[in-house]
Symmetry: C2
Subunit: 201 residues, 2 copies
């Protein structure tokens, strides 16, 4: 049995890096394995040698992306040592910092999940887990009169939607890249204020 050489990792990493780029840019269905191979600068057969199929490669990329998207909120959900205000500040900051580096992430992940929602059914109790989290409990305590889902959807909408709508805003010439990112920086402070106002309304 041979040891792994640097080139092994390098080639495999070149392929998956290309896959990240092309899948995120065009979606699963519109991506051709040849696109990925070309982007990685390797032969098509090599892609199937390292990963068994387009779907297997996609699953790897998708797994990463899903974790990146939900990783911004997950560690905050059950933190017993922060209050509601602090949690919201943390979620907003985590998300915007990550999304500025990965602006296409939400639209990619949400689209692919919609087209393949069965695969995410194994996380059957993730919904319950979210609604029984410390975060949800703190929301309920502050506003027993409305569903915590309303607040969660609102926070996520205020933070994620600009990135989801960004392609349209850019297409119609409403913002350029630089000013969009400037607005997102502003939103790190604005959104927590606004959510506080919502919780008091």
């Amino acid at each position: 049995m041979a040891k792994k050489r640097e080139t092994d990792l390098s080639t495999e990493e070149k392929i998956i890096e290309a896959a990240r780029k092309v899948f995120t840019q065009k979606g699963y269905a519109a991506t051709r394995t040849r696109d990925i191979a070309e982007e990685a600068g390797i032969n098509l057969a090599l892609l199937n040698y390292y990963f068994r199929s387009k779907e297997k490669l996609f699953e790897k990329v998708m797994f990463e992306k899903v974790h990146k998207l939900f990783g911004a909120i997950a560690p905050v959900l059950n933190d017993e040592n922060s209050d509601l205000t602090e949690k919201i500040e943390k979620i907003v900051e985590n998300y915007i910092n990550m999304l500025v580096m990965n602006p296409d992430l939400p639209l990619f992940v949400l689209s692919e999940i919609k087209n393949n929602s069965e695969q995410f059914g194994d996380k059957f109790n993730m919904g319950k887990l979210m609604l029984e989290s410390v975060f949800a409990r703190q929301i309920r305590k502050r506003r027993p009169d409305i569903s915590p889902l309303h607040i969660i959807m609102s926070v996520l909408g205020l933070v994620l939607f600009p990135f989801i709508g960004r392609p349209v805003l850019r297409a119609i010439g409403a913002v350029d890249e630089a000013s969009f990112m400037g607005l997102m920086e502003e939103r790190k402070k604005l959104v927590p204020h606004w959510v506080a106002a919502i919780l008091n309304s």
Copy 2:
């Protein structure tokens, strides 16, 4: 030259109705013309007889969908006879009423625009038009200290995002169809309140 018969419209309408359904459900790339033909209960060649190609058929559907999505906000933008509060109420109500009937619309349109943003470049000044609308002017008057884009993104985020995130919420078992729609009904009253709170914050 022969007159058009009822069957003409009926067949053409059967095809485009099937196209609406399949394209919206699976997106352009994942849709096969055979799927549409089967859904319409007609021969594949007939699809190419009525519409010249998959792309032409898609353009027809896409045009409708884009207009449906932006039609909920467009007539309100330049209404001189309503104040900011009334406009927000109207936008929220229009949108939620329409989205309850077309929950997949936003994710579909935003995804397809992202993958084909060149085609929407002809509406080059639509961005300027939006930022010079009566609506934008009224926002600026109320809050000269922040970009009206912040408020517009926030209203749209609060209204559209729940529908964009719905596939995930359903996949993780956080809501069933009925309770989701119930929440959206509640949001018709909640979101205008919240936006008012944001504007005062």
